[in-house]
């Protein structure tokens, strides 16, 4: 499972070795919970933002290899970052801070919410299931009312990597 930071600034190449640029953002579709592709900041002079759609991605590790770039206007993560998240009763739960996604089927698995700088350190950042959210114009609605299960990513030790966090 990946987060945005794993892909930011990754170099993007074509199969012939030509460098397209670097990834500067992720293109998402919240309502279908999919990653549509990545926004590339290209080397060329003209300012158009190039997108690589997820079906054109061939492989990635330290860099990414793709078939071709496309064009178009899509919603990227930086557009929805830091939007407020409200629950059904109208209370603000937090702000969108990151997303967790898988790359084999481009599903968004979770949305990471930040509840506040100090609260983050104390209680950890919350994780929301994307199926329980609806993206509105300037807020994200979180539908689950009964808080039986809450997902939290709490602050853990930076230094000694436990077995759980060794997945990559």
């Amino acid at each position: 499972m990946y987060r945005i930071k794993d892909f930011l600034y990754m170099d993007v190449y074509s199969t012939s070795g030509k460098r397209f640029g670097f990834i500067k953002d992720i293109v998402i579709d919240i309502n279908s919970k999919l990653i549509k592709g990545f926004k590339i900041s290209s080397n060329k002079i003209f300012n158009k933002n190039e997108i690589v759609l997820s079906q054109n991605i061939i492989s990635f590790s330290n860099n990414m290899v793709i078939k071709t770039v496309s064009d178009g206007n899509y919603i990227s993560f930086s557009d929805i970052k830091n939007t407020d998240v409200v629950d059904i009763n109208g209370n603000t739960v937090g702000m969108i801070s990151d997303i967790i996604f898988e790359m084999n089927n481009f599903n968004i698995k979770g949305i990471i919410i930040s509840t506040g700088l100090i609260k983050d350190i104390a209680l950890g950042k919350k994780i929301l299931i994307p199926e329980a959210t609806i993206l509105g114009e300037d807020t994200l609605l979180y539908i689950i009312d009964k808080k039986n299960i809450e997902f939290v990513s709490s602050a853990h030790k930076l230094c000694w990597e436990d077995e759980e966090s060794n997945e990559k």
């Binding site: 987060r3 500067k24 230094c159 000694w160």
Partner: protein
């Protein structure tokens, strides 16, 4: 726990001693300057290696480049400074005569306090200019004294470039084992971002220098090359740079005639606008993601601490701190 406290206190004492004893301090300063220079040229170095040139020869080429560049600057700047210095006293005299002229014209203002005010202002300005000129001449002479230590810098830069990988590995060993993983990750992130920043600023400076050079040559202003390089270098500083870089050029043009100064101002303004709105966003792109207010604050602090170099280095240092902070927050959750 006690072991950690002992270790940290020993480390703190060592660092404290280094900065206190002047011999160590100068050596440390030299090493820091060489490191920054080597890092600034690392993109060029890596490009040379990609072209297939041997590591050591590329490093040699780069320090030749640096040495020749500095030799050129000295060969060009010093005669012009000496020439301008003799102009300066005559300029001061003409300023003095202008002040006297206006003072005599407005004899109505010859009440005691106002007269004292005008004269003391004049005195202050003259004194400040004299101090500035003498101190800059002293600095130039000091550079001659420090020549021995300065000539060590290219050698250190050569080793930092050629053996950079090995030195890097040794440095990582300094950190405790548990933190090495995250230190390496932070290092990689810093490397990527600073690499992009340095390349983009280099391209911007060269571009600005060429444009300014063309403008100055067309307007027949003196010392177009020096002024163009000054403008290009100052452009690296985000918001204050273009203004500070343009002022020497406009002053030089003023020496020719007010009309040339006006044209220079207009052209330089146009160039800055082209660079700022069209080229810079494209080249710098999204590499530096800091709020403009933060950038301005950093530049002011940098200027207070270390003048011109402070302003130049303020942004990279700010970027490094931001990356460390971001990475720690990211990996902590």
């Amino acid at each position: 726990m006690k072991n950690k406290i002992i270790m940290f206190s020993i480390l703190a004492i060592i660092i404290f001693c280094i900065f206190r004893i002047s011999v160590f301090r100068e050596a440390a300063l030299l090493i820091i300057i060489s490191f920054i220079t080597a890092y600034a040229f690392k993109p060029l170095f890596q490009k040379l290696i990609k072209l297939g040139i041997n590591k050591r020869i590329s490093a040699l080429l780069i320090i030749f480049l640096i040495v020749i560049f500095f030799a050129l600057i000295i060969a060009v700047l010093i005669p012009s400074i000496i020439k301008e210095a003799s102009n300066f006293t005559s300029t001061l005299d003409s300023i003095q005569s202008i002040v006297n002229y206006y003072y005599n014209k407005f004899k109505l203002l010859s009440t005691g306090t106002l007269k004292n005010l005008v004269y003391s202002l004049n005195d202050n300005i003259t004194k400040k200019i004299q101090i500035a000129v003498t101190s800059s001449l002293e600095k130039v002479m000091n550079i001659g004294e420090e020549f021995l230590s300065l000539s060590v810098i290219p050698i250190i830069v050569y080793y930092f470039l050629a053996d950079g990988e090995r030195i890097n590995n040794r440095m990582v060993i300094l950190f405790p084992i548990k933190t090495r993983n995250i230190v390496k990750r932070i290092g990689k992130d810093i490397d990527k971002t600073l690499n992009r920043y340095i390349i983009s600023q280099f391209i911007l400076s060269i571009f600005m220098s060429i444009l300014t050079f063309i403008v100055l040559v067309v307007l027949k202003v003196n010392f177009p090359l020096t002024l163009a390089i000054i403008n290009g270098v100052f452009n690296v500083i985000p918001y204050f740079g273009p203004i500070l870089g343009g002022i020497p050029a406009i002053l030089m043009a003023l020496l020719k005639s007010p009309k040339t100064a006006l044209w220079t101002m207009i052209f330089i303004f146009i160039i800055q606008q082209i660079e700022g709105n069209i080229i810079s966003p494209k080249i710098t792109g999204d590499s530096v993601n800091m709020h403009p207010l933060l950038v301005i604050l950093l530049i002011i602090i940098g200027a207070k601490i270390a003048g011109f170099w402070g302003m130049l280095l303020a942004i990279p240092i700010g970027v490094i701190i931001k990356i460390i902070y971001d990475d720690i927050i990211y990996y902590m959750y």
